[in-house]
């Protein structure tokens, strides 16, 4: 039988580097700087709570919106930390990671042809979720000279009347770029002027190193137009628990909940219980991990520059995005060569779009010993390929 796949899905850009990922996964004894998640296991108190809940038989569905206790805790947490007021019952939804949150927002908001500004380079799912929801992603290419940050000017250039929303992710995967309050305020002005919605993915917020993180929703006049996405994956090293949250105007959250209840039903109860424990007692672990990342960031940036890879100091997350421009090789060739000759894995820039072929993404969510050894190997590779 000839099976036809939906046109929309067929049209989605295939992940060009699946083959490379498979190559990495099939190789033994690789030092990987290609990982998009913390190298720490979830804090033991979180794991212990999850185990206990399983022993007690907490294995059921929860409310579609997520357990009320967890939503209340999140409301309390964002209030205490960021002075953000969200009603736990109407303005907060527990999602299966921020990934689901992104998908829900797009499907809840977009009509065919609606445009969304998506900065580049950015996490690979952004443009596809816009397209799957029937919208059109308008790419905003950031620039290394500006530390990969959007500016009000280049946002404004793209603001035609069918642009409905701006996506923003800070600190950013893959560049580590983040924004100060002043920079965000300047962007907020353009947002207001062009009456945009803002979808703000702030899952790396706790991993901001040089200044305090400012949620977009806290900027004057922004809360009513921001869908604030966050989760437990990065800060609490809980990627596998798959728990995220969405805060926003009641109307949007209700619409998202509608889709969520038909497609997902609810996030896993084990994850939700673990998340409650994380909020209650996990901040110390978060701070310890942050301290460690911060040290590694200094080490990796300085070491890469020393061996001749041009790398700026990113403000957050656990990635650096050095340029390999002067080597004059495609990023995929660089990544494959490094993998084969030195068994070091990283993500070639081209994975984030053709425009980023002069870059590589290095994740420092890897032990200090690994980072040290990887730098030695990259240096060897650079001198052998010269």
């Amino acid at each position: 039988m000839k099976i036809e796949i939906s046109k929309k899905v067929e049209k989605l850009a295939p992940s060009g580097i699946r083959e490379f990922f498979d190559l990495v996964l099939g190789m033994k004894d690789v030092i990987s700087l290609g990982v998009g998640e913390p190298d720490f296991a979830s804090p033991w108190l979180v794991r212990e709570k999850a185990i206990y809940s399983l022993e007690r038989g907490y294995t059921s569905y929860t409310s579609n919106k997520g357990m009320p206790e967890l939503r209340k805790q999140i409301a309390h947490f964002v209030k205490m930390r960021y002075q953000l007021d969200y009603d736990f019952d109407n303005e907060i939804l527990i999602t299966v990671g921020v990934s689901e949150g992104l998908d829900l927002v797009m499907r809840a908001l977009l009509n065919p042809g609606d445009k969304v500004i998506v900065p580049e380079p950015v996490y690979v799912s952004y443009a596809p979720v816009v397209e799957l929801a029937g919208g059109k992603a308008v790419s905003l290419k950031t620039d290394k000279s500006n530390e990969f940050k959007m500016t009000p000017e280049n946002i404004e250039k793209l603001c035609t009347k069918d642009v409905r929303a701006l996506m923003i992710n800070y600190p950013c995967n893959p560049t580590g770029a983040s924004y100060t309050k002043q920079e965000l305020e300047a962007i907020a002005k353009v947002v207001k002027k062009h009456n945009l919605l803002v979808i703000s993915d702030e899952v790396y917020d706790e991993l901001t190193y040089d200044f305090d993180h400012t949620p977009f929703a806290t900027l004057p006049g922004m809360k009513e137009r921001v869908i604030y996405l966050n989760g437990f994956s990065k800060a609490y090293a809980m990627t596998g628990f798959r728990i995220g949250w969405a805060c926003g105007p009641e109307k949007v959250i209700q619409a998202m909940t509608k889709i969520h209840q038909y497609t997902i039903l609810c996030a896993s109860i084990t994850g939700q219980i673990a998340a409650q424990e994380a909020l209650k007692n996990g901040m110390k672990s978060v701070q310890e991990m942050k301290k460690e990342y911060k040290r590694r960031r200094r080490f990796i940036v300085e070491s890469l520059n020393e061996i001749g890879l041009d790398c700026h100091m990113p403000q957050g997350a656990f990635y650096v995005f050095p340029s390999i421009k002067k080597l004059k090789v495609p990023s995929m060739d660089f990544a494959k060569g490094l993998l084969k000759s030195q068994k070091v894995a990283l993500v070639p820039g081209v994975a984030f779009g053709k425009a980023w072929d002069d870059f590589i993404r290095i994740s420092y969510a890897s032990s200090y010993d690994n980072l040290k050894e990887a730098v030695v190997r990259i240096k060897k590779y650079l001198s052998s390929s010269r």
Partner: protein
């Protein structure tokens, strides 16, 4: 705690160059700081944490925790008796503690016999000692914040977005 001390307390073999990179301080200032700590006794010694269970002659290594109750002396309190106790090379650690006894003493020896002899002939016979309770260690799970068993590291994907 100073970041340099914090890092050193977990990895005594780290070089000053690495410390400079990790902390963002200059090499010179890192070296000076360490020198200062060594001089004023903040850094006492650089040691290696050994899992004795894996060493071939592990059978000839016994460790005991001994609870010691003592009568404190006028003027010097517990310090004088503590010094008499910790001066024995068999004693590897000695702490003054609150609670139902006074000193917690860790003693190492080749076998149960040597440790028992030490307690009986050297420790209990000291004048101010009222009583001792000896606990032989059966198994070490964790020491100085380090779990001794090599644990599985989970199976994080080697590459992901």
């Amino acid at each position: 705690m100073d970041e340099i001390l914090e890092i050193l307390s977990n990895d005594a073999r780290i070089t000053a160059e690495e410390l400079a990179k990790l902390t963002g301080k200059s090499l010179d200032s890192v070296k000076k700081t360490i020198e200062k700590y060594e001089k004023n006794g903040v850094i006492v010694k650089y040691k290696t944490l050994i899992n004795h269970d894996l060493v071939r002659d592990a059978n000839s290594f016994v460790r005991a925790l001994i609870e010691v109750s003592v009568t404190p002396q006028k003027d010097v309190g517990f310090d004088s008796i503590a010094e008499r106790i910790y001066s024995f090379p068999e004693v590897t650690s000695c702490y003054l503690v609150s609670g139902s006894y006074d000193l917690l003493v860790v003693v190492e020896g080749e076998n149960i016999q040597t440790v028992s002899n030490f307690v009986a002939s050297k420790l209990s016979s000291l004048d101010q000692i009222r009583s001792t309770t000896t606990h032989f260690l059966l198994k070490k799970y964790k020491e100085d914040g380090q779990i001794l068993k090599k644990t599985e590291e989970g199976n994080r994907l080697k590459i992901s977005y």
